[in-house]
Every structure is written in C-alpha cells, then in structure tokens.
C-alpha cells in the first residue's frame, strides 16, 4: 500500500493505494485537479520513491514554478534525477526542452511513457492531462494506449495517476475510462449559481469498498489540497436540550470548560463535537444558552455553514430568546433547521404552532424531536443536509 498524501483519501481507500494501481482523478471543468496529482507525486518523492510528470499542458519550468508556489521543492529531486519530466508541451510550441524525455512527435507518446515507467519501478507517474490526449489522438487510440501503460506499470509496480478534465465527452467514453482504471476519484463542485465549494469522492476502487463520503476541500498556496471541515452551529435558549443534541449527532463530543478557553474571562461551557453522517463531515459547536455568552455567538456564527436551533416546545416564553439567538449568530444568513424538542412533555406545541408563534418563514424546516431518546435527530440531520446540498 502506498500513501496518497491527500488528507482523508487514504482513510477512504482503506489505507492508501495498492502498489501498482492506476488512479484517475476526474474533475469537472472549473475544479483544480492538478494539485492532487502534484501533491501525490511530491509526497512519494519525499518518501524516497522516483517519479515523473508527463505534461502536454504546461512546460516543465511552469510546473516547477507551480510546485514552488505550493511550497514544494521539486528542483532538488529533478537535480538528483529522482524526478523527471516527459515533456509533451515544449516541442509542441517550438520551445527547447531540457527534460529527460521530450515528445517531438505525438505518435511516439506511447513508447516514451513506457520508457519513463520503466525508469521508476515502485514509483509514481503523473499524466497531465488525459483530456488533451483524447482530443489529439482520438478516443479509441487513447484507450488502447492507456491499457498498455497500465499493464506495463503493473509490471513495474508503478502507480500511474491520470488527471482528467471531464469536458462534454460521451458517457460511454467516461465509462470506458473508468473501467480501465483501478481507482477513480471524482472531483466535483458545489454550486449555488457559482462554484461555492468543491469536494472529492471515490467512485470506485478495485481493492476496497470505499465509503461514498464526499470530502470538501480547498487548495491553498502554499499548502496544497486541504480538507475543509465546515462548522455547524447548535444554538437555542437555555435548557432546550442543546448539549444532548450535540452528543447525539456527534461521533465524539466533548464539553469544553473555561480551562480550555482561557482567552475568555467568564465561565463558559461549550459543547464541541465531530459529525460524520451520510458522507458529510463537520465540526459541531454547541453554544451556551445564557445571555452573558452572546459575544461568543457572533464569533462562532461567522464561520458556520449551517445551524440547528433547539427549542423547548413546552416553553413558548423562550421563543423570543430563540429568535434573538438566531439573529446574534447570524444564523439568518445560513441554512438552518429548528428542532422542536421535548415533544413528549405535556403542553408541547406542534411544529405548526411554533412556526406561527415565532413567525418563522417556510424556508426553515421545523422538526419535532425527543432528543433524549434520539427521536427526530436523524430527521433534523437529513433536513439540514437537504438544505446544504439541495437534494
């Protein structure tokens, strides 16, 4: 097994990628997939493996410059010969190439990459990118070449990492490509008219049964691919059941007291949890209910992508306070779900009655719950995910 050096990806793949596996990163246009290939290569180079980059979209110098902006020193591996380029870009533009291999003639691509593979046994090769190859050589020709490359790399125990931009190719081509790869990672966008987020997800892997988790990520320079873990806020009036809710939805929940938050002068009890539900990963922050902690609400609210507001269905006198907390946490601007807790107690108002009393718009789902018994908790989670992902 070899590590991918992409956060969370090794976990999802059951530890990493098999030594001779071919991996395809399939990204929709608009999402960065180069960073994934480069990050994998760099991690392996540091480990001591050899590697190469086949490029037909950027000159080696430009790529080395890209690595620098991520904070990765490719030059030293190029100098030592542990890393090299298969340059299909410079000759195409009539520019000189100092790469170990240079593709002057596209008909020689297959044999040149085969040679490169044999130079890096047990190592890694990044193909950047497959789409340009397909539109130059044709679909069938490219598929044949890939099959030969994958067969060869299996023999040398080399991993081939293919970067593919999923332009409007025919579904059958995309299917055929997936079939000849040992592992396919799909990189997608989360859109709300424009791209507001991106995530990767393993579509299949020949050696494991990966979970269908979509991991949100962002790419930073320097740094590379980083996992983005959104924050979910759990707020509401005192004694509505927030702490219990946080514990019920989190895999591990912790109550943090003033010892840990010494920056704040007053006593604070904060519930922090980590949520993984139906492939969605998030950090959960339960706010204190007392008014004197309202300063914290502003800070926490700013970075949250969604919120649960827990109210005690038997205490309508606290509804005004609930609305105030929504406002203070800026939860007005983010997707939120109201959890009408304590439905089992006498005098509990129904969701419709609560909506009327609170004058809450229809866009906020109100989920009846008995949090202590775990009832309504998954409904609430599903409701929030529905708002976030729009399915």
């Amino acid at each position: 097994m070899k590590r991918t050096y992409i956060p969370k990806l090794d976990d999802i793949l059951g530890g990493g990628i098999v030594d001779n596996a071919s991996v395809m990163f399939s990204a929709v246009p608009g999402v960065d997939c180069e960073a994934f290939g480069y990050q994998m290569l760099y991690g392996r180079l540091k480990e001591g493996d050899k590697g190469f980059i086949f490029t037909n979209v950027a000159e080696p110098e430009t790529i080395t410059y890209e690595f620098n902006s991520y904070g990765w020193d490719l030059e030293k591996f190029l100098e030592s010969g542990d890393a090299f380029f298969v340059d299909g870009s410079s000759p195409f533009m009539g520019l000189p190439s100092t790469a170990r291999y240079s593709v002057d003639d596209y008909s020689k691509i297959e044999e040149i990459v085969l040679e490169a593979i044999s130079d890096v046994p047990g190592g890694i090769g990044v193909i950047n990118n497959l789409s340009t190859l397909i539109d130059y050589l044709g679909e069938d020709e490219t598929i044949n070449i890939i099959k030969k490359w994958n067969l060869y790399s299996r023999r040398y125990n080399t991993n081939l990492i293919y970067l593919f931009t999923k332009w409007d190719y025919t579904p059958s081509l995309v299917q055929n490509l997936k079939k000849i790869m040992d592992c396919v990672v799909e990189i997608r966008t989360i859109e709300e008219r424009v791209i507001i987020g991106q995530g990767f997800m393993v579509a299949h892997s020949s050696w494991s049964k990966p979970s269908k988790t979509m991991v949100l990520f962002f790419v930073v320079q320097p740094g590379g691919v980083k996992v983005y873990i959104p924050k979910i806020l759990v707020t509401g009036p005192y004694n509505a059941g927030k702490s219990t809710f946080v514990k019920k939805i989190s895999k591990r929940a912790v109550s943090v007291d003033r010892k840990a938050l010494s920056a704040f002068p007053t006593t604070i009890a904060l519930d922090i949890g980590h949520l993984e539900y139906k492939g969605f990963i998030a950090d959960v922050f339960g706010t204190p209910g007392q008014e004197r902690f309202d300063l914290l609400l502003d800070v926490l609210g700013r970075e949250s992508v969604g919120a649960f507001i827990i109210v005690d269905s038997t205490a309508p006198q606290t509804f005004a306070r609930a609305k105030e907390m929504i406002r203070k946490t800026r939860a007005e601007a983010i997707p939120k779900v109201l959890v009408a807790n304590k439905q089992d107690l006498p005098g509990a108002l129904s969701p419709e009655e609560i909506r009327e009393k609170m004058k809450l718009g229809e866009e906020v789902p109100i989920i009846p719950a008995i949090v202590t018994e775990g009832k309504g908790v998954t409904d609430a989670l599903d409701a929030l995910l529905g708002l976030l992902y729009g399915d």
């Binding site: 990204a27 246009p29 608009g30 999402v31 960065d32 997939c33 180069e34 037909n56 979209v57 950027a58 430009t62 410059y65 902006s69 870009s89 195409f92 533009m93 990118n129 789409s131 340009t132 539109d135 130059y136 970067l163 931009t165 332009w167 409007d168 190719y169 966008t189 859109e191 008219r193 424009v194 791209i195 507001i196």
Partner: protein, 229 residues
C-alpha cells in the same frame, strides 16, 4: 448593454439593444476589423455602468490591453485596483516572464484549458458576489485554436458558456473567421445566443429577436455606428 442615453454617441446601444443576462454573444469577422476594440468598449462601458467584468486576454497580454485602451482614454488601472475587473492573461507567460497572480489579475497558459476554467470559476464567483449583473469577455479564440485540438476548444466553449450563463453573466466570445475548418465555425455559431458580425464596413446583428444591421467606423472614441435598420 451600452448606455442608451444622450451620452451614448456610439449608437451601439440602439443597435444591440438589451441583451438578457445568461446569454453568450459571438462576435466574429475577418482579421483586423475592430473586434478587439469592441471588446475594450464593451468592457469599459460596463465598468462605467457598474457592471464588473471577467476579461480573458487570449490574443494579447494585460500590458497591451491597457495600452490599447489608453488610446481611447479608457483607463483600466483603477478598476483593476478595485477588483471590478478580473483579468485572466493566458499569453504573457509564453514570453518566459514569471509573474505571480494578484487579486484581480491571474496568469494561465493558452494550452492549459483546464486551468483556464479553474480561474474562470474563481472569477465568476468573485464577480457574482459583487454584482448580480456582470460581463465576461474572451478575446479571442484564435490563439486558443492554434495551441489546442479544435474539439477541445469547442468543449471549453460549452463549459465556459455553462459557467457564465449559470452565473447570469453576459458572455462575449470573439472568433476570427476563416481560421478553422468550417464544421468548427458552424458549431461555434450554434453555441451562440446572439451573433454579431463585423466585416470592416457594417455590423450585422442576429438574435432570437431578429436581425439588424448598421454601418460602422472606428473613431477616437471607439466604434460608432449609424444607419441602423
């Protein structure tokens, strides 16, 4: 689209009318008829009217864009500083110059279309947050066709069209006729919602609303047209 008021001496506003957001406009014609000048004008009139713009400089670099616009007294720098124009320059790196990206100016490569789309994604998001109406210009497809397989360029166009129209922008794409095989030109025409043809003397406009034409000339103040019918 162009300011349709007393100060619009160009009459372009009358000729083109209001183009709905979410549409792709194909500006085509032989070389050297004023298509780029139209782009500068489209960019500048938008900026003056409060519509930010995504500008993909694919035939020339940022420096030349600024210089050419200055000849018409259209100054781009202030809008670059304020971030109302988001420029993607895909040629300057070919000169061997290593420049880093800044907030409003990104450098990409004419042969890395996937990277271009990544920057288009970031640009559209940035402009969408600034304004519900924005413009996008791609001037032009000529070098892009010289450096990439034509099929891939068409794929880029489809993805670009999706991205711009989804974000409710008006996308202007420039193409020099007679530089690629006819079937690719046909496909380009099919992608466009609105077509403008410059032939050196007249402008022909074609859209779902019908056809219009006018005579035009290039003046110190940009392109002016008359005789609209």
């Amino acid at each position: 689209m162009f300011m349709k008021n007393n100060s619009d001496i160009t009459n372009l506003g009358d000729l083109l009318g209001d183009i709905e957001p979410g549409k792709i406009v194909l500006l085509y014609g032989p070389p050297k008829v004023g298509k780029s000048i139209f782009c500068y004008q489209f960019l500048y009139s938008g900026l003056k009217g409060g519509e930010p713009c995504l500008y993909i400089a694919a035939d020339y670099g940022l420096r030349q864009l600024e210089q050419r616009m200055m000849e018409f007294n259209w100054f781009l720098q202030p809008y670059i500083q304020s971030g109302e124009v988001y420029i993607i320059d895909i040629l300057t790196r070919l000169a061997g110059v290593k420049i880093g990206d800044s907030n409003a100016v990104k450098f990409s490569s004419v042969q890395n279309l996937a990277d271009l789309m990544v920057k288009v994604g970031v640009g559209t998001r940035s402009l969408f947050r600034k304004s519900s109406k924005f413009r996008a210009v791609l001037d032009s497809l000529t070098m892009i066709f010289a450096f990439n397989p034509p099929n891939l360029v068409l794929r880029l166009m489809k993805a670009y069209k999706n991205r711009v129209s989804e974000a409710n922008g008006i996308g202007l794409v420039v193409h020099t006729t007679g530089t690629v095989e006819p079937q690719f030109e046909t496909s380009l025409m099919e992608l466009a919602d609105f077509k403008i043809c410059f032939d050196g003397k007249s402008i022909q406009v074609e859209s779902s609303a019908g056809k219009k034409s006018a005579q035009y000339t290039i003046t110190d103040e940009g392109i002016k047209c008359w005789g609209i019918e």
